[in-house]
Symmetry: C2
Subunit: 221 residues, 2 copies
């Protein structure tokens, strides 16, 4: 059964665009730019001005007609909408190369998320320190989650183990999953949130475009 969409609930597409606006505005802000008119912002984002206006209007709108956007203000507002200031805390499960790369990346800090725990079943990493945090055995998950506020579990373990571990962690009270495995996570708890980064699907999209482009090229000859 399709759940009826509530009025004023923005679509995922709107949220994805807001996240993208946020990323751009953040760079402009870092570069010292204070203001941008809607035409320039539209060109930079490759999104029409009216689409941007419409997206912002979902949340009340923050442009001053004819004066463009104040970057610091808009950045703050979009950040607020997206939860940048909520100081969410994440654990990473699976500290192989990808888990280590993600643990060490700036992606969390830039979005106000802090990594508080790392877990892996392999003796070769347990006890080691990655990005300043000690890697623990998953047996410690229960105690750790009961003693620490954990909002997000990042899944960088093998696809095979991902579902079982996600159910366990969800039962311990963590409700949001950032899934880097090749499998999709469907949890028993319908309120659990899963956001996927399926790198393979992305690579396939690129391969399709290459193939399609070269076919066009050969057709043109």
């Amino acid at each position: 059964m399709q759940q009826e969409k509530k009025p004023n609930t923005p679509s995922t597409a709107v949220i994805k665009r807001l996240a993208r606006y946020y990323r751009y505005l953040r760079t402009l802000h870092e570069e010292g730019v204070t203001k941008i008119n809607s035409k320039d912002f539209s060109e930079l984002m490759n999104v029409t001005s009216s689409q941007i206006r419409q997206d912002l209007n979902c949340f009340g709108g923050f442009g001053q007609q004819g004066y463009g956007y104040n970057i610091e203000y808009l950045l703050g507002k979009i950040g607020e909408i997206l939860g940048v200031n909520e100081q969410y805390r994440a654990i990473i499960i699976g500290i192989g190369r990808l888990g280590q790369a993600i643990a060490s990346s700036a992606v969390f800090a830039k979005r106000g998320v802090s990594v508080c725990g790392l877990f892996d079943i392999s003796d070769s990493v347990i006890g080691k320190t990655v990005a300043g945090i000690e890697v623990r055995h998953p047996d410690e998950l229960e105690r750790f989650i009961s003693e620490n506020k954990v909002d997000i579990a990042v899944l960088t373990l093998t696809a095979k183990e991902a579902h079982r571990v996600a159910e366990t962690v969800n039962a311990l009270g963590v409700n949001a999953f950032w899934n880097f495995t090749s499998t999709e996570i469907k949890l028993n708890n319908p309120s659990a949130l899963v956001e996927n980064v399926h790198m393979g699907d992305s690579l396939m999209t690129l391969c399709y475009q290459i193939r399609h482009n070269s076919e066009e090229g050969s057709n043109a000859q």
Copy 2:
């Protein structure tokens, strides 16, 4: 100016779904499943049967009405559409933690792509071997690309350097970019292909959902 869409050119959304079907079918195939009826496949994919049929019909359709889908056949066909058998070759530029993780991951081999070169400006990795491949200085890019078929450049370097390096590599003849940096790559060459993996946008989407969910919870009390 909006380019007119050619008839029979499937949208990016269709291609993304095909990539997802491919991933699932691949897992089923590995598990020894040979056939799946359209209802089960629809439930597994969380996409309506008619949407799946429509997606496949873009390419001629491969289901046998009433008999469901032959997994090996469908996998082969979708793989063909997506270019899995084209044996594309990739170089990775930026061999920090993320570049190393990606170089070592199964994501390429699973999609028929092979990594043939690794490049980084840092003396601490140049000359080292990652995933069986020696890391080279970007000064060697020109010679390397002239001597090797390179279809894809994976960008795992800093956002600051990404654009300049992408233009250089594009001028050397590499036309497809898999971009992991936080910046968007807009190349002078309009036929260049860029596929982005913006992890930060994905994390922000998840944060928004957490915030929105908890608001709903508190409203309900």
